[in-house]
Symmetry: C2
Amino acid sequence: MKKKQMKLGVFLMGTGHHIASWRHHEVPSDASENIEFFKRIAKKAEAGKLDMLFLSDGLSFHDLSHPAELVRFEPLTLLGALTTVTDNIGLVATASTTYNEPFHLARKFSSLDHLSGGRAAWNIVTSYYESEASNFNKDKHLDHSLRYDRADEFVEVVKGLWDSWDEDALMRNKETGEYFTKGKLHTLNHRGKYYAVRGPLNSSRPPQGYPVLVQAGSSEAGTNLAAKTADVIFTAQSTLEDAQAFYKKLKAKAVAYGRSAADIKIMPGVSVYVAETEKAAREKYEGLQQLITPEIGLDFLADYLAFDLSSYDLDGPLPKNIPPTNGNRSRQQLIIELAERESLTIRELYMRIAGSRGHRIIFGSPSQIADQLQEWIDREAADGFNLMPPYFPDSFTDFIDLVIPELQRRKIFRTEYESRTLRGNLGLKPVVSRYQKDNQFV
Amino acid sequence: MKKKQMKLGVFLMGTGHHIASWRHHEVPSDASENIEFFKRIAKKAEAGKLDMLFLSDGLSFHDLSHPAELVRFEPLTLLGALTTVTDNIGLVATASTTYNEPFHLARKFSSLDHLSGGRAAWNIVTSYYESEASNFNKDKHLDHSLRYDRADEFVEVVKGLWDSWDEDALMRNKETGEYFTKGKLHTLNHRGKYYAVRGPLNSSRPPQGYPVLVQAGSSEAGTNLAAKTADVIFTAQSTLEDAQAFYKKLKAKAVAYGRSAADIKIMPGVSVYVAETEKAAREKYEGLQQLITPEIGLDFLADYLAFDLSSYDLDGPLPKNIPPTNGNRSRQQLIIELAERESLTIRELYMRIAGSRGHRIIFGSPSQIADQLQEWIDREAADGFNLMPPYFPDSFTDFIDLVIPELQRRKIFRTEYESRTLRGNLGLKPVVSRYQKDNQFV
């Protein structure tokens, strides 16, 4: 029997996932606005046969952010550029349902899917920084549950717009002068609780039917939306047990929504430090850790906890009175739980997570890394991983050059792309238009 | 004395500017969603040393549209893709102020400017199709004057966001851990009549300072906005006298706004049919004209006039009772005036303009074409032209291969790019940040 294949994405966070990566002497510190950097990484990822490039996003300047997020390319224009220098790898852009219009996003992702020949994916977020509201004519950020309620309808509208044109609607008959078949064009006429969108879309059916949908929320509302709509789930899990519980819960939820467990691919983030020996790998980590100043560490915690700890003893515990954020509540909770579970001081806490940012960190030789990744696949904790390279380009090129061949040797990762589309490479079913589905019963 | 240099853009309308171009046997009828087509044209344009690629846009499906506008790439993702296959040519995307947020557009154009190394331009439109409103939660399209009033503020907000970061704000000092200089980051805090946008932008200062601003409105409100803010004005002018009057008026308006006449480049559209002989050029035109059916012609007039003429005699005059549109009123007026001035029947009218779509058409040998272009430059009717190739790729490659060398021989068009930025090639002054301007008086 063929072994279960691992799916792999890479999280393209400018200088690298580690909060102090930009200070590393080998890292191009302007990476987040350097197209030559992104081209190089994209080509390397494709040489390693990875499934996808993943771009996070935010809609405000936020001075507590990871430095690589202070200024950066807008994901869809950047991925547009990367379509022409890659052939097979998936292109995932994050975009918020809270500060966008469904028509614009449906169109942009359809356009990216056409440009790339079926490699586009949308990471659906609802925005979690209060500061975003003030850039969009709003005095206050919308409440968490309202954001998810709107997101649910938003995604339905986007899917409806992607179904506007049947696949064979545009026949462009030069002889008769008929450009398209009227009966194969569908007007959505959506009038819902939050959105009124007439359609149809001025973009033909995306090559993948629908671009791949990615979701990363861990809250109840977030996992419901994910289980209902997402093809890929990106999540932060630091222990095998938590990851197994999350995996089981999300697959069960998907089944409860009438989907098959195989329809959603669960891909936790993982920061990998690999070298010839485990000792050398740990030294790379320690080198980065030394670049974290208390100021960087406290800013980082202030961001994730939405709470300023600068008046507290660095070597004392986290205070008990941290109020729930209206931002990324599940991430805040994960961090508080981690500090409690392991009785960490504030300094220990930021040193622990400023590198991983809530994600799993693993160290070792190529074989040790492969063991740790494979274990999560074999024990139903993951269908694959979103790699969060600690610093670019070296920790990423090390992974491609050292770990990928080991995974391939074990026959748990591809040696060649199976498909030209991301949906095909992920092993997802083709998306059938709602109008074709209706026809099946005629 | 060096002769005045002509500026040249090319209007990338999928299959070509002529309404029936897609039916031409040499035209790829799916051009508007074919990235290989766009890459080929972009490279050819750059080989011809053109200033810019120009993409129009619309935010709805509109069944009376030019077929190449029914489905098409979204301009910013497409131009993102073209940044990597070109080095010098400017990239102009149309985007509407009526159905966008200033933060999004400021960011996307800044991103495109960074991706391209200073070649981005924004063609500012206010949307003119009623159908767009219904895709964006609106029951009714905004009134023409309100759209322009909002556009005026929108553009000011976008400029303010582009000034967020001083050019040298991000020093990324690895030794000290200082990523940027706080005093060189500026928060806009805009609270105006229509927009509240706090800023700053999460994109550093665009390489051009501001991407080039293009405007195409011909109404009083449109020309005011253009004279106040635009670097380039795209306009439809069919006679030398009209073009001279428009040129004089716009330059005077710019001066009235405290700008110099050289600060705005006026570039009328022109559809060129060139061949070895004038006769052969006219035959190309006639070949395309024969592809216009009455149905195509009437749809076309219904679109431009916002009035259905199908119950009128094709060989009679235009009726007198056509009401002013809430859409593109200046274009409607141009067409009604043309019909009156030359006493055209409905059939003659659509045959006349379905090819040119309100723009000038010229025919001839390379030398005759150069004469006609040069006349408008010499007689102060234009600073350059936006080429509207009747059908792609042939009528465009003919222009590059036959006309460009003739213009170069006459020393009125460049043989090499002067600059890596669009602003530099257009001969426009660098944009100084508002905060630097303030400093000049300190």
